[in-house]
Amino acid sequence: MNESSPATAAPLVRLIDELYKLPGIGPKSAQRLAYYLLRMPAAEARALASAIVEVKERVTFCSICQNVTEVDPCRICMDGDRDRTIICVVEEPLDILAIERTRGYRGMHHVLHGAISPIDGIGPEDLKVSELLQRLRSGEVQEIILATNPNLEGEATAMYLTRLLRPLGVRITRLARGLPVGGDLEYADDVTLARALEGRQEIES
């Protein structure tokens, strides 16, 4: 990216080039970050560098749920108190954190590492779908919760998985879609409102 300039030291140019490769970082941001790192105390810079190296060397994917972990199988898959008959299928590892934050789910997880996006050339073969099928072979799993994002790619992925898993005889459920907490009805779009009406529930007294 940077042409070598006599005004910039070569190691700094290299750092700018490496930072520029990160998503969302433009040439100016890369320069600003590089100069920030340069002014940073040496101990902090070393801690950052070792954290990057450590994450690459020690963090791996769980061979069961495909979540990122430092021990394989991960802590959730090793937890004997969890319900092994339910698997919640999510797009990204961060989605597991969101579901775990609710403290209302005690089943297992499965990370697909993406969603089907035919326009971008991302198909089922690019996701961890075969690993999910492998988990169902044991016959222990009774329910699959499809917790992909409620957008077009997430819906496409959910529909594809439904088609694929239905012949296996497991119960397939989808996270409810509808109005968000704190939202205004008048701003709701037709699709969301229609889904909310479809999924309406009787108020229990």
Partner: protein, 260 residues
């Protein structure tokens, strides 16, 4: 006339990509400004009031504010959701294919009302039609026509003589049908049966209703698709991504049917 700082336009959202923490860049096809990228801020948050209105394959009215690099969505309202597309993977995959073709064929900021209307009508048809593939073939042929890549189906692209009512050849690189005599010297020419030629001509000249009245199933439909697809790939000089997904769904559909 210069575009005002805030302006309104309707459009169909073709695709989207993530930007930063919670934003998206939307590729929108509009009848007045053509295809353009716009920034939608905060639409990845669950509390966003706009996110539901700004999903791909929706027709919506956008209020846009001019930005430095790309214009920013200031407000929006969904006009048409094409809901059946979202409930059926076969319909959805074909609609995404249509959106990808528009994205690949149409240059940025070049408006064409007929092409916009073709896209909207095709999305409506895919949401409703029984023969999804024939609907897509009609769309492909009309899009090629409107973008200036109409395949030649009346005369031989090699010698210019009228094609005889026999099996001929189809040469995408040369621009259409080619007679038996000239086919030898044309790269990548494939046999074009008379029935397939008739269907292709109907798709080119007939109305949508005419095209849907013809029953094209099995090998005839596959042959029409293969020829049109090879022509599109030859024009674009690249594959269409969504086609691979449609093919996969077909293969797996057949596999499930066999296993059942």
């Amino acid at each position: 006339m210069p575009v005002p700082r805030m302006y309104k336009t309707e459009g169909v959202i073709l695709r989207q990509r993530r930007l930063g923490e919670a934003d998206r860049i939307l590729c929108v096809y509009t009848p007045t400004f053509g295809k353009m990228d716009v920034k939608a801020r905060g639409v990845r948050k669950t509390t966003s009031r706009m996110s539901g209105h700004l999903q791909p394959l929706t027709r919506c009215m956008l209020q846009l504010a001019q930005g430095h690099v790309s214009d920013v969505v200031a407000g929006c309202e969904m006009l048409e959701s094409f809901q059946p597309l979202r409930d059926d993977l076969d319909r959805l995959s074909r609609a995404l294919y249509a959106a990808e073709l528009i994205d690949r064929f149409v240059p940025e900021r070049t408006h064409s009302f007929p092409t916009y209307r073709l896209l909207v009508e095709t999305l409506r048809r895919l949401a409703d039609a029984n023969d999804l593939d024939q609907t897509l073939r009609f769309f492909e042929m009309r899009l090629l026509d409107q973008c200036g890549f109409r395949p030649e189906l009346e005369v031989c692209v090699g010698c210019g003589s009228r094609l005889e009512a026999v099996d001929n050849f189809f040469a995408p690189i040369s621009g259409g049908a080619i007679c038996r005599v000239c086919a030898g010297g044309s790269m990548g020419a494939r046999t074009l049966s008379l029935n397939v030629l008739k269907v292709l001509r109907l798709l080119q000249h007939g109305s949508y209703d005419d095209a849907m009245r013809v029953r094209t199933e099995g090998s005839l439909a596959r042959e029409v698709e293969t020829h049109l697809r090879s022509f599109i790939v030859s024009v674009l000089e690249r594959d269409v991504n969504a086609a691979a997904f449609i093919e996969r769904l077909r293969r797996e559909g057949v596999k499930h049917a066999v296993e059942a």
